[in-house]
């Protein structure tokens, strides 16, 4: 037992530090995402409680029959498939295929941007606003907060893309792209729940 412990002893602690840092960062990032998901869960819980406690006749703002599902459904398909695309980007990078990495990452960014564009179009066509009762407030709060996350994800992807043009940048570690990819999957999973709650359960 003693010998196994001694093998941990550190002849050179800086080497150990760089090794640890990547693992630590990923661990910390997962912890952060867990915490982040609680904010979404809180909003979801709020939405569910408001919806179930309000009489159906008072739930939707006056003059609003419900939400159009078709375009958001297409949007959902685009966003969820982009999760697979960024996975391929990640795999390309692990195999040192920089060109493939850039191509897949650009595709992910384009799909994410298409999603944001689709949502902007939807927002501009809606008959109710942020201050139209609890329903309007919850709708724009949830979709807006999620949209902010999509935007953040695209920004992260842009940074990862730019970093790929610095020679040798990805030789030392892949934490950046692994975290970006995980964040993107997280944003997608949140959207699926959000889509079911707001669009499917009307």
């Amino acid at each position: 037992m003693d010998s196994s412990i001694n093998s941990h002893q550190l002849p050179n602690h800086t080497a150990e530090h760089t090794h640890d840092e990547e693992a630590n960062s990923m661990f910390g990032f997962v912890v952060f995402l867990l915490s982040e998901s609680i904010i979404f869960l809180s909003f979801f819980a709020g939405y569910i409680v408001y919806k179930t406690m309000t009489p159906l006749t008072e739930w939707l703002p006056t003059g609003v029959a419900g939400l159009e599902v078709k375009e958001p459904a297409i949007n959902t398909v685009v966003l969820v498939s982009s999760s697979f695309v960024i996975y391929f980007a990640e795999r390309c990078l692990h195999k040192n295929n920089l060109m493939g990495f850039r191509a897949f990452l650009l595709t992910t960014m384009a799909m994410g941007s298409y999603f944001l564009y689709g949502q902007a179009v939807e927002w501009s066509n809606l008959a109710f606003g942020f201050t139209s009762g609890v329903y309007g407030g919850m709708f724009y709060l949830l979709t807006g907060f999620h949209g902010l996350h999509v935007f953040t994800g695209i920004l992260l992807q842009l940074i990862m893309l730019l970093r790929s043009f610095i020679p040798g940048n990805y030789d030392t570690g892949h934490f950046g792209i692994n975290a970006t990819s995980l964040f993107w999957h997280f944003v997608d999973v949140i959207w699926i729940v959000l889509f079911v709650l707001i669009y499917v359960w009307q």
Partner: protein, 559 residues
């Protein structure tokens, strides 16, 4: 001490650097967890003084029955800011400070996992303070909705101005939340990933267990408050109606968001103090901590149960009877793991060779106050009692026994206990004991009368009261002023001892623990060589050493 690290290593030169020698270091963006820890401690103590002055203004108002010191808005601002500052700028950051200082040392790490994130989290605290202080200078004064910011009071904006006290309050709380989440990510990662070889989870000091449990609560509770605060912010500024019943909203929803975090937050504050007690009692009793594993796990159990009890703050908010029953039972369950801890401490001290130094006095005093607070806590968890004393001074008395009697006194215990380690100097024992007795007497004089006052129906947050309540109010006010004076010997002691005190040995209490194996104050990066842990902590009176390459700190022959 032998050094095995190769001398060509660039970082090698770095980690023999000396600890900060001038006060100017503490005004820089330092990455050293020890500097950040002291930055947290000093900053939060400054706000403790501000919050204390506000408390004395409140007690000055309450020394006579009529509301004669200022107008109602003034008084509302005083108690709102007193509560907000004491919670968000004293208890939370001071405990983060002590944890920041100790956790890496206690687990044999050179620093926190993310040193820069750590510094960034600290520098948000002064920003929170400035925002809150700035609200005193607004024409309509600071927020007046109480520290819990319940709507509809908190969404009223009579003057209609965009910048108002409530807005600054919400921004400050939001920033303090971001800072706390950053800290929590850092602590959880550090404790899980940075422990020295051989330090299994069940070889961690109880303080580290307590910090871990507390920070897990932060991670999973704080986002709920953030969600509620964001919705409140929109209600206040852009006219949404989440909490406005006139437009279909529900004010009780905010209470759920708020208490889902703010009840567990009580344990965020008190768990590290339980950790401090668990560190101090064995050292000053020369005995191993009784029931180490049970005490360790009870912290996690408290953290878990804490998420299931929040509705006990809302018995009087129209909560249906079956739900009140459920939450009454879950609330009472908290007393089981807490009681286990209390019994473990009593069993630790029992029959030990007790040294009544200042840290031990404060820890024992804090324990006595906590037992009292626990008893009134169980009373309040019971629905019929709570309905009777809801919103009265009985509640105020209860949580001040927790927050001053236990948390603040425990904090003083920690500050005295680790003062020699942090500064390399000894504090003045006579002044320390004077501070303790003034505090102990002042706390009881100040907060005990609140219980009879509450039972007689004096409402909290009231600026005036009936004439027959004068007696207990005068005693409480005198106790409050005594508490204010009690802080003076502490300030004098800390400053003069740090500047001119006698030099402290590395381990003045003959304690077991990694933090006592390094020099006082510890060097930058803490350890020349990462220690290898081979036994459980708290081996007082046992012959097993703590680490592979050191002799037992306290061989049997000593005791």
């Amino acid at each position: 001490m032998t050094i095995q690290v190769s001398s060509t290593d660039a970082a090698d030169l770095h980690h023999h650097a000396h600890p900060p020698t001038t006060w100017k270091t503490y005004f820089t963006f330092s990455h050293d967890h020890k500097v950040i820890g002291i930055q947290y401690l000093v900053t939060s103590f400054v706000f403790f003084l501000v919050g204390g002055i506000l408390a004395m203004i409140i007690r000055a108002e309450l020394i006579t029955p009529p509301a004669d010191l200022g107008d109602r808005t003034f008084y509302n601002g005083m108690f709102t800011m007193h509560g907000t500052i004491m919670l968000f700028l004293w208890t939370f950051p001071s405990l983060v400070g002590i944890a920041n200082y100790l956790v890496p040392l206690m687990i044999g790490a050179r620093d926190m996992a993310f040193p820069r994130l750590n510094a960034a989290a600290f520098w948000m605290v002064p920003v929170v303070g400035i925002l809150l202080m700035a609200s005193f200078f607004l024409p309509e004064g600071p927020s007046q909705a109480g520290w819990w910011a319940y709507p509809p009071v908190s969404v009223q904006n009579p003057t209609g101005s965009l910048i108002n006290g409530q807005l600054l309050w919400l921004l400050a709380v939001a920033i303090s939340g971001v800072s706390s989440i950053m800290g929590a990510v850092n602590f959880v990662t550090t404790i899980f990933k940075m422990r020295a070889p051989g330090m299994t989870l069940f070889r961690m000091p109880i303080f580290v267990w307590a910090v871990l449990s507390a920070q897990i609560i932060q991670l999973f509770g704080l986002p709920a408050l953030t969600a509620g605060a964001v919705m409140l912010l929109f209600d206040l500024t852009v006219g949404t109606s989440f909490f406005d019943p006139a437009k279909g909203g529900n004010p009780v929803m905010f209470q759920h968001f708020f208490w889902f975090y703010s009840h567990p937050a009580v344990y965020v504050i008190i768990l590290p103090i339980f950790g401090v007690f668990s560190e101090i009692f064995p050292v000053y009793s020369r005995k191993p901590l009784f029931g180490y594993k049970v005490v360790a796990i009870s912290s996690l159990v408290i953290a878990g149960v804490s998420g299931l009890v929040w509705v006990h703050h809302m018995y009087a908010s129209g909560t249906p009877g079956w739900m009140r029953m459920l939450f009454m039972v879950s609330t009472m369950c908290v007393s089981v793991p807490t009681g286990i801890k209390v019994f473990a401490w009593v069993a630790t001290v029992w029959g030990g060779k007790i040294r009544l130094n200042t840290p031990m006095l404060f820890a024992l005093g804090g324990l006595i106050m906590f037992v009292f607070a626990g008893i009134t806590g169980i009373m309040l968890s019971s629905v019929p009692v709570d309905i009777h004393v809801n919103n009265t001074y009985f509640v105020v008395g209860h949580f001040h026994y927790v927050l001053y009697g236990t948390v603040t006194m425990g904090m003083f215990a920690a500050l005295y206990h680790w003062f020699p380690k942090m500064t390399g100097k000894m504090y003045n024992e006579g002044l320390g004991k004077l501070h303790f007795w003034l505090t102990f007497i002042g706390t009881n004089l100040n907060f005990f009368p609140m219980h009879p006052l509450g039972l007689h129906g004096m409402l909290r947050r009231a600026a005036s009261y009936a004439d027959d309540l004068v007696f207990w109010n005068v005693i409480a006010s005198l106790g409050g002023f005594l508490l204010g004076m009690a802080t003076l010997p502490f300030i004098f002691n800390m400053i003069s001892s740090w500047m001119y005190g006698t030099k402290a040995p590395d381990n003045p209490w003959r304690a077991i623990g990694l933090e006592w194996m390094v020099s006082s104050p510890p060097p930058v990066e803490n350890f020349d060589r990462i220690p290898v842990i081979i036994s459980e902590p708290y081996g007082y009176g046992k012959s097993t050493p703590l680490t592979a390459d050191t002799p037992p700190v306290n061989p049997v022959s000593h005791s």
